[in-house]
């Protein structure tokens, strides 16, 4: 992995060696860190998802030990058990949790797009002098704690909360609305928390767009709505895709929002995993839940990486 293609540099032999070593370290140090703390942990999750739960600390029967070598490994492979996966597919609770997570994430992503697009479009059309300020105002909430922003909505949405107080006082409704602990509250929470992730890539593509194309379409007799669908929207598609993935992928595994806003009856897989781990202390099942969640997300994540790589190539 450390086989680096370093360009020949116009320097002496001694410093060339120093540079070659430094060049290799630039790659090796972060590489090894990510291998150890990002890739290896996934393999451990995979391993533990194949082992049996046990009442011990840690609460699983080890599937194999690294010290046992190849023979131990082969022996252990024979003992791998798919019980946890059979258990997951047999219990409708888990399947429903996956389906409902995907559904909630998909609906929230569409809603975020609907809210975020006009905002990003408005920002891109704003006078160039105030655009940096608007951009900073979109980024700023991202810097404040996710937990705090979700928490803020509890006080607004609860039955005696600020939204109901306002609606009752203005006479729009005469019964308090039940929003907290419903899917609506989760949708609001996700749209609110992830809005900057949608607006930023949309703004980046819309700002670069040549507006004279829209004017040309209008001059040629296209309606405003027609011009939007035939010119603006297709040109902003890379931003739409990037924004939707940035919202959808983390939303599927979201824990804080369904836990604080969704109440006890909402089923989302991030919450299920958390409960399996912290409440039931069933580490193997929690690991199996994580493995399947990762399999569900692997396609969107790969598309996201492809989009990222394309952007890099373009900017190069």
């Amino acid at each position: 992995m450390s086989d680096v293609a370093i360009r020949p540099e116009p320097a002496g032999a001694g410093s060339r060696i120093v540079s070659a070593v430094a060049g290799r370290l630039v790659i090796i140090v972060p590489y090894v860190w990510l291998l150890l703390f990002f890739l290896v942990p996934f393999l451990i999750v995979l391993k533990i998802s194949l082992s049996q739960a046990a009442i011990a600390m840690p609460p699983y029967a080890p599937a194999f030990r690294l010290g046992d070598g190849l023979a131990g490994f082969l022996d252990a492979v024979g003992q791998f058990s798919f019980d946890n996966y059979v258990w997951l597919t047999g219990d409708p609770l888990y399947i429903n949790a996956y389906l409902s997570s995907l559904m909630i994430a998909a609906v929230s992503t569409v809603l975020t797009l609907l809210v975020g697009y006009p905002v990003a479009y408005g920002m891109a059309r704003a006078p160039a002098t105030i655009r940096p300020t608007l951009l900073m105002l979109v980024i700023l909430p991202f810097w404040t704690s996710f937990l705090i922003r979700v928490y803020a909505w509890i006080g607004i949405l609860k039955p005696e909360g600020l939204l109901n107080q306002f609606l009752l006082a203005t006479g729009i409704i005469d019964q308090p609305l039940v929003i907290l602990n419903t899917h609506t509250a989760i949708f609001i929470g996700i749209v609110y928390s992830y809005l900057p992730f949608m607006v930023l890539p949309l703004y980046a593509t819309l700002e670069k767009m040549d507006h004279s194309l829209v004017e040309a379409a209008l001059d040629l007799g296209c309606t405003r709505i027609g011009a939007f669908w035939k010119v603006t929207f297709p040109l902003s598609l890379p931003g739409v895709i990037a924004g939707c993935l940035l919202v959808f992928i983390p939303a599927v595994g979201e824990f804080v929002i369904p836990d604080l806003l969704g109440g006890s009856q909402t089923l989302m897989i991030g919450k299920t995993l958390w409960n399996e781990f912290f409440s039931n202390r069933d580490w193997p099942v929690a690991s199996a839940v994580a493995v399947i969640l990762l399999l569900v997300l692997v396609v969107p994540i790969m598309i996201f990486q492809k989009v990222q790589a394309d952007v890099q190539e373009r900017d190069r």
């Binding site: 992995m1 509890i154 004017e215 690991s287 994580a290 990762l294």
Partner: protein
Amino acid sequence: MNTGWSRFNVASVAVGFAFLYLPIVLLVVYSFNASKLVTVWAGFSTRWYVSLIHNEGILNAAWVTLRVGLLSATVATVLGTLAALALTRYTRFRGRVLFSGMVFAPLVMPDVIIGLSLLLLFVALGFDRGFLTITLAHVTFTMCFVAVVVQSRLLTFDRSLEEAAMDLGATPVRTFFQVTLPVIAPAIVSGWMLAFTLSLDDLVIASFAAGPGATTLPMKIYSQVRLGVTPEINAVCTILIGIVATGVFAAALINRRRELQRQRDEHAAMRADG
């Protein structure tokens, strides 16, 4: 023909920003509420801030969070900058696809998966869970954000500056420290700030990585939120928002000043040429 900012554009930006900011504003306002009920206004008071000073649980958690944040952000900045350099400067090396995959994946990976997998690693390695494991976990996921921030700066970097330095006899290592580093320094600083705030905010990964020994502020806030909304939590949140907002504004001001200075220098240089 409309070339500027239509009324619809202005309205959608205004509504969008109101949606983004109103909940935070309400949270801050109600932290100064005299009543114990968060949603009933009973006059201005700073009593919740005073009571915070005597809340040892929260103060301890804040201290842990601050130490984890400072340490993990610093390590993550070094590793993230190296990763960014590796990705932009070495377009071909074995395992590059895996490497860039490992840098970008944590940006979208659900927290619960990162948290669970790191916890299982720490257990497998026999680490005592606590301050150290939270810090390691935070370094791992925040270094990827640093890498992305620094990388975007490196992509727009004018490489002819480096080539000039090397033509004049500087070694690549010296070129990096005297030419490259000063130019990408603002991106490294914002990367550090991003890593620090992400560490400060993280609940899920810290909950997995922390043993019974260490509690961070978000974990403390979360356990109290589950018991109900209280003005005291609003006060903690307001202080956190205040710290982050001050930091971000200060950084923006400094950046703007540097930018203006740079423009003035350029103008001066051009005049000197002419």
